[in-house]
Structure formats: structure tokens, C-alpha cells
């Protein structure tokens, strides 16, 4: 795995563009992926609704990055079976994809800080509460052979005591060393976990300590667990200030628009269950993907033509809407189906609705990431970020022309 920053400080701030080169690690054909980039969320290694053949209709190599949680496999298949099959890439039929393993997600593998102890991290899973020790975790990682993997962390929500927060940092660092000790690749594919809750000093301590280890990059956890929007930017910046510039940074659980904060703080990889939740709710992303180009910004038309970020296709106004979700969107859903059809599918509780929505939402959100990268490369990221936020606020305060 090789990573390099290709453009630093684009448009002010610490936003950066990078290139991630991945080859080997049990699979993953040689591909260069530009960052900042989105890791698609998965359940047991595959997207919730988009099967592999449909996944390949999404933009490449953007849609080749997946976040996989080893905890999803805690029941089965066994590490031995996964090994015998040849690892994750083989088992999932995703030989050309880049699989990044991190234990927690916000749907099926929720960190349960009250049950974590000195021996391991606890997670709420569909099969109950499970305690995972670093040795067990590494057994899974070794058999799975992901391209990149985050070390085991003790994530805590924002409201824990200072003492508990401090303990979480101590444990996370200790577990990082435990994981590295048994890593056959000696840290080449490792993302050292950085936690520290809402305490700036602890965040800095953890980041600084993790930087001393021989790792390929860092996974920043503990966000999306109760901290406020204002705190978050300061915390993210505190962390990235203490991390080496040239190494990869990956943060979990930032949705839209928090992801803009992450990019502004210098993060390269993001995962979140944003698309999953949108899809389950019957929402489709529709915000325009051309903000950067519109240099002549007429604020009046901006508010009048305020587009929503998303529409809810369950709404009856879409019953007879013959247009695709987004005009001229190149995704499978928009090329083949109408809003009316999806509205019908949602009303009759058909699985195809989720399949079509996840395809479109993924396509659209990946497009957004591409926009962010263009903005960074063009030195305009801060402008992009401000416009995006302003546009959303303008919509919220103006008369909504479309329903939510």
C-alpha cells in the first residue's frame, strides 16, 4: 500500500488531495484511488442491497473502496473457513476491490463502552454483546487479509468521565501494540486507532503516541458518538495536527455535511452509514453536483431555486412523476426507472426499492466526493465548503418548493 499527498492546503485550511495505491494484501488489483474518498458501508462484506454485478455499474475505481467490519463475521464463517476460501476478497467475490477493515460501524457493530474492559472491546451485534480481544481480532484479520485494517480501539461516547476517557486512550494504544506484535506485515497495512473522546488533550496524546508506532496510517474513531458539531472540528484538527502529514487518515461515522469538516481537517478516507439510512428511509439524494462551477453566484436565484439535499420518494407527489430521480444522472436507477415506479415499490414494501435507492444514493454521494476532490485540486475547497453549507441553510429558511 502506498499513499502520497498530491496537493496540500488546497484553498486554505488543511484539506488535501492524495493518491492511494493498493496492490496485494490477498486481493485488490493494482489501482490508484484519489482521496478524499468514500468507503462504502457493507454488511458481512457486501453492500446492504447492491449485489456485485450492480456494484460494477457504479463509477470506478470510486466504488471499489469498501469498509468491512470483521465483527460482522463473529458468528460465521469461522476464521479457518475464511482462510481456506482464501480471505475476504475471495469469499466476497471482490477480487478487484479495496477492503478496509475497521471493527465498529453504527448499525451492526456498535461499540459498547460500558462493557469493554482491559481484556477487550465490547460490541453490540445482532447476535448479542460480544467482547473481542486483540488476539481474536488479529486472528480474524490474519484470515481475512484485508488491504488495510484499523487496530482494535476502545471507543467511548462524548459524555464519559475524564477517567474513563483516559483509560480508553491507554487501552487503545496498548491494543495497537498488541495487534502490531502479531501482525505478519509488521504494520504495513495497519491504521493505528486514535481515540480520546471530546477531550482535546487526550486526543492529542493518543495521536502523538500512535504516530510513534510503525503504521501505514491512522483510523480516527470515537466521532459520531455524541460530540457537538462545534467541538468536532476542533477535535479533528487537534488530532491531525499531531499526525504525520504524509500518512493516510481515515475517520468513521461522519455523514453529510460533517464530512466537509473532516476534509477541512485533513482527513483522506471516510465511511458512514449515511447512504444506508437514507435508503431505508426512502430518501434519494438530489442536491446539484455543480456548485464549484457556478462562479457567478446570484444569491437571490440561489434561494429561490433552493434544491433540497434529498427527496423522500414515499411522498404522494411522486406517484405519477415520470422523471428519473435526478435528470441526466448516469446511475443504473436513473437510466432505467422513474420516481413513480420507486414510489410504488416503497408503498408495496418491495426490496427492489432499496436496491434502486442504494445504487442512486451511492452514485450521487460518490459524485459529491469527486466534487470535493476537484475543489481541492483547484484550490477552492474552502469556498466549496462555505457554499454548500450556505445553500443548505438557505433551503431550510426559505419556502421549500419540494417536500421532505
Amino acid at each position: 500500500m502506498r499513499f502520497a499527498v498530491t496537493k496540500a492546503c488546497g484553498g486554505g485550511g488543511k484539506a488535501r488531495a492524495g493518491a492511494l495505491y493498493v496492490g496485494g494484501g490477498g486481493g485488490g488489483g493494482a489501482a490508484v484511488v484519489e482521496t478524499p474518498s468514500l468507503l462504502l458501508s457493507t454488511r458481512k462484506g457486501l453492500p446492504a442491497f447492491v449485489s456485485r454485478d450492480l456494484l460494477s455499474t457504479l463509477p470506478s475505481p470510486d466504488s471499489h473502496l469498501l469498509h468491512v467490519s470483521p465483527i460482522h463475521f463473529i458468528e460465521c464463517p469461522s476464521s479457518k473457513t475464511i482462510s481456506n476460501i482464501g480471505g475476504l476478497h475471495q469469499m466476497l467475490g471482490l477480487q478487484e476491490h479495496i477492503l478496509v477493515a475497521a471493527a465498529s460501524d453504527s448499525v451492526e457493530s456498535l461499540p459498547e463502552s460500558e462493557a469493554s474492559n482491559k481484556l477487550g472491546a465490547s460490541f453490540e451485534t445482532p447476535s448479542g454483546r460480544r467482547l473481542v480481544k486483540p488476539s481474536e481480532y488479529m486472528q480474524m484479520i490474519t484470515s481475512m487479509k484485508p488491504n488495510l485494517w484499523a487496530s482494535l480501539a476502545d471507543e467511548v461516547p462524548a459524555w464519559v468521565t475524564e477517567k474513563r476517557n483516559r483509560i480508553s486512550v491507554d487501552r487503545t494504544l496498548r491494543w495497537l501494540d498488541d495487534c502490531l506484535a502479531v501482525d505478519l506485515e509488521a504494520g504495513k497495512n495497519t491504521l493505528g486507532a486514535v481515540v480520546g473522546g471530546s477531550n482535546i488533550d487526550e486526543r492529542k496524546r493518543c495521536a502523538t503516541e500512535a504516530s510513534l508506532r510503525n503504521v501505514a496510517g491512522f483510523w480516527i474513531g470515537g466521532f459520531g458518538l455524541g460530540e457537538s458539531m462545534e467541538e468536532r472540528l476542533a477535535l479533528l484538527n487537534a488530532v491531525t495536527d499531531c499526525l504525520p502529514e504524509e500518512k493516510l487518515r481515515y475517520v468513521s461515522r461522519l455523514s453529510l455535511p460533517e464530512v466537509l469538516q473532516g476534509v477541512a481537517a485533513g482527513i483522506d478516507l471516510f465511511d458512514s452509514t449515511y447512504i444506508y439510512h437514507l435508503t431505508l428511509g426512502g430518501f434519494a439524494l438530489v442536491f446539484p453536483l455543480d456548485i464549484v462551477e457556478r462562479d457567478n453566484w446570484d444569491s437571490r436565484t440561489d434561494i429561490e431555486g433552493a434544491d433540497c439535499t434529498k427527496i423522500n420518494l414515499r411522498a404522494t407527489i411522486y406517484r405519477k412523476d415520470t422523471s428519473p430521480i435526478v435528470d441526466r444522472c448516469g446511475c443504473f436507477t436513473c437510466q432505467n426507472h422513474t420516481r413513480a415506479y420507486i414510489n410504488h415499490l416503497l408503498n408495496v414494501h418491495e426490496m427492489l426499492a432499496q436496491i434502486l435507492l442504494e445504487i442512486h444514493n451511492t452514485h450521487h454521494y460518490l459524485g459529491f466526493f469527486r466534487l470535493m476532490r476537484e475543489a481541492i485540486k483547484g484550490g477552492k475547497f474552502e469556498l466549496f465548503r462555505q457554499r454548500f453549507i450556505k445553500r443548505r441553510r438557505a433551503f431550510l429558511t426559505a419556502e421549500a418548493p419540494c417536500s421532505l
Partner: protein
């Protein structure tokens, strides 16, 4: 014909259906008329356009669902009266209205409204239903607005009574319809009665028109009915059983939920060329099925692939003059111990297919 009840095959996209070789799917008139509504579909230019399905569609009359889904359904000469599931008001589905709705939906093949009776019922009701089916057939024909683009099939009723079935067949054949369905089966009757009705009907129906056995079925049933001269089938079985974690294989059924599958590194079926069998192991699918939507999808994909392949294989073996061989191979794989059910042996004998080499301990009765 996979069943796409509400304008979609559960969990599969149109291009996936085309990929596995699906040529025609079935839509349920009752469901579609409720949601999204026949008028809306009509405004869209028909169900093909609404779903964006470029191949063939068949709709049933709506009668069966009404009788099976709605209690308080009552059948009179006028039509089927039932309580609207939306607001409880009494409603009436007449033959005219069923055809009108199907005209709006726009399927390539539409079904006449028939008076369906469970095969487990005996007595004069069956005779009444059979004659009424013929009378309703005429009303359907009269009401049909698009005979040039939509093919109206008649449905043979008559329960398990060969005399009644014969009257019904002759009555429908007189009306010179584009195709004929054999209805009133697949409802719990014993297999021996089932095949005999199919055999009688296929013997009497015209050679040059399609024969559609409604609600069938299991792969074995399809092979037997094909041997007896039937051409078309519909059943929810492949997709429904997928959602319960069962995969269709040449040997029968593979229950992926079974603990033994947890470490099985083989594909569902090593002889199956479908995307699922070429990519995934039983062990991985074991952890998905019944728990994740993806499990249902992948299994549905495989099961429908299996059925499409079975149809293709039946077709090719007939065209190439080796149908009996194909049947023997099929039965040997499903019944390796030679325990072919008696009804299958009887049916095959009438069909003129020698399967004695597949039956270990039982010889076909004369």
C-alpha cells in the same frame, strides 16, 4: 414464469432477469389494481413501461387472489363480491371489469376470470363453477378491447372430475382462443389426481396452442407436466423458498441455514453457471440467508437461474430428440436411491417415457 406480483420480482432487477434468460413474468391483477392502480398504469402506457420491462408479461384475472386473500368473498353469477381491503366497502369484480383492468395494465397475455373452486371440495359446486367459467369466458371475450395486442387465454376448470373437465375443454376449444390454461390445481389435491387432470387436458387441447398449468411448481412437477404436453408454468416457489434459505439444486433442495453449511466451501451447485454459484460459497451464503436482504437476493437469483436453466434444458432436449434421456437423468439425480414416487411413474407411463431404469424397487403399474 417468475411471479412478479406487484410489478417486480422480489429482489431482482430487470437486467438480472434478462441475464438469467427470463422471457416472461407474471403480474397479479388484484395487487396491481390496488397499488399503483390500473388507471395510473394505463396513464404510463401500460405495465411494461411502468416497470421498464422489455420482454413479455402475463396478468392473471384477479379472481384467485380475491378468493384466497379475502374472507367474505362470495361468488355469484355477476362476479366475485368481496370487501375492499382499503375501506371495507362491498365491491364486485365482474368478468368485464377484470378484462378492463387487464386491458389497462397491458400485458401480452391476459387471463379470463374463472370461477375457481378448491380441488378438495366435492359436490355440485364444481359443476356449477365449470359452467359458469364458460359463461364468463364469453363475457370476457366480449369485453376484451385489445384482441390484437393482448392474448386472452381461457382456463379449464372442473375440479378432479374427468367428465366436467372434458366439457370445459371442449367448450373453450370451440371459442378458438390463443391459448389455454389448466386451472384449479396446485391447491392441495393429491399428486395422483393432479397429474391425471393435466394429462386429460393436454390430450384434449389443441396441439398448436400453448398450455399453461397455473400455480405449478416444483421442478419435478414441471418435468412431469412437460412430459404430458404442457408449455407454461408460474409459481412463487423459487423466490419464496429462497427467502427461507433454501436453494434449488439438481438433487433437490439445499437448506443453507443448516449448520452443516457453515464450513462448506463449495458453491451451491458446482454445475450451475449462474453468478451466485460462480462467486460464493455455501459457507458465506449460510451466514447471509434469512438474516440479510442480500442473502434473499442472491438465493432468489440462483433459484430463478436454476428454473430458467431447467426450462431451457427441457426445451433443448425436446428439440434435439433426447427428452426421455433428459428425464431419466433428472430423476436419477433427484432420486439416487431409485425411490421415484409412484405418481411420477404412472404419469411417465402415460406420457410414454420409459423410466424403469430410474426406479429401484417399484415397477410402473399397467
Amino acid at each position: 414464469m417468475p411471479v412478479g406480483t406487484q410489478g417486480t420480482i422480489k429482489g431482482l432487477t430487470n437486467n438480472q432477469l434478462e441475464e438469467i434468460g427470463c422471457q416472461i413474468i407474471l403480474g397479479n391483477t388484484y395487487h396491481l389494481a390496488l397499488r399503483p392502480g390500473a388507471d395510473l398504469i394505463d396513464e404510463f402506457g401500460g405495465l411494461h413501461k411502468f416497470m421498464n420491462w422489455k420482454r413479455a408479461l402475463l396478468t392473471d384475472s384477479g379472481g384467485f387472489q380475491m378468493v384466497s386473500l379475502l374472507h367474505l368473498a362470495d361468488i355469484t353469477e355477476k362476479g366475485v363480491t368481496f370487501q375492499s381491503p382499503v375501506d371495507g366497502k362491498p365491491m364486485l369484480l365482474t368478468p368485464e371489469e377484470s378484462i378492463q383492468i387487464q386491458n389497462k395494465i397491458g400485458a401480452d397475455i391476459i387471463m379470463a376470470l374463472d370461477d375457481v373452486v378448491k380441488t378438495t371440495i366435492t359436490g355440485p359446486r364444481i359443476e356449477e363453477a365449470m359452467y359458469r367459467t364458460l359463461r364468463w369466458m364469453d363475457r370476457c371475450i366480449a369485453a376484451h378491447q385489445k384482441p390484437d395486442t393482448q392474448n386472452l387465454f381461457g382456463i379449464v376448470q372442473g375440479g378432479l372430475d374427468p367428465v366436467l373437465r372434458d366439457i370445459c375443454v371442449r367448450g373453450l376449444v370451440e371459442r378458438n382462443l390463443p391459448g389455454y390454461a389448466i386451472g384449479g390445481l396446485a391447491g392441495g389435491e393429491d399428486k395422483d389426481s393432479f397429474w391425471r387432470v393435466v394429462a386429460q387436458c393436454t390430450a384434449a387441447l389443441p396441439e398448436d396452442k400453448p398450455r399453461y398449468v397455473m400455480g405449478v411448481g416444483y421442478p419435478l412437477d414441471i418435468v412431469v407436466c412437460s412430459a404430458l404436453g404442457a408449455d407454461m408454468y408460474d409459481c412463487v416457489y423459487p423466490t419464496r423458498t429462497a427467502r427461507f434459505g433454501s436453494a434449488l439444486i439438481p438433487e433437490g433442495v439445499l437448506k443453507l441455514k443448516n449448520r452443516a453449511m457453515a464450513n462448506d466451501e463449495r458453491p451451491i451447485d458446482p454445475t450451475c453457471p449462474c453468478m451466485v454459484c460462480k462467486t460464493y460459497t455455501r459457507a458465506y451464503l449460510h451466514c447471509l440467508v434469512t438474516k440479510d436482504a442480500m442473502g434473499s437476493q442472491l438465493l432468489s437469483y440462483h433459484n430463478l437461474s436454476y428454473m430458467m436453466k431447467l426450462s431451457r434444458d427441457l426445451h433443448t432436449s425436446i428439440v434435439e430428440g433426447r427428452f426421455p434421456e433428459f428425464v431419466r437423468g433428472f430423476l436419477r439425480t433427484q432420486f439416487p436411491k431409485g425411490d421415484v414416487p409412484e405418481w411420477v411413474c404412472n404419469a411417465m407411463e402415460v406420457a410414454g417415457i420409459d423410466i424403469s431404469s430410474c426406479c429401484a424397487s417399484f415397477s410402473p403399474s399397467h
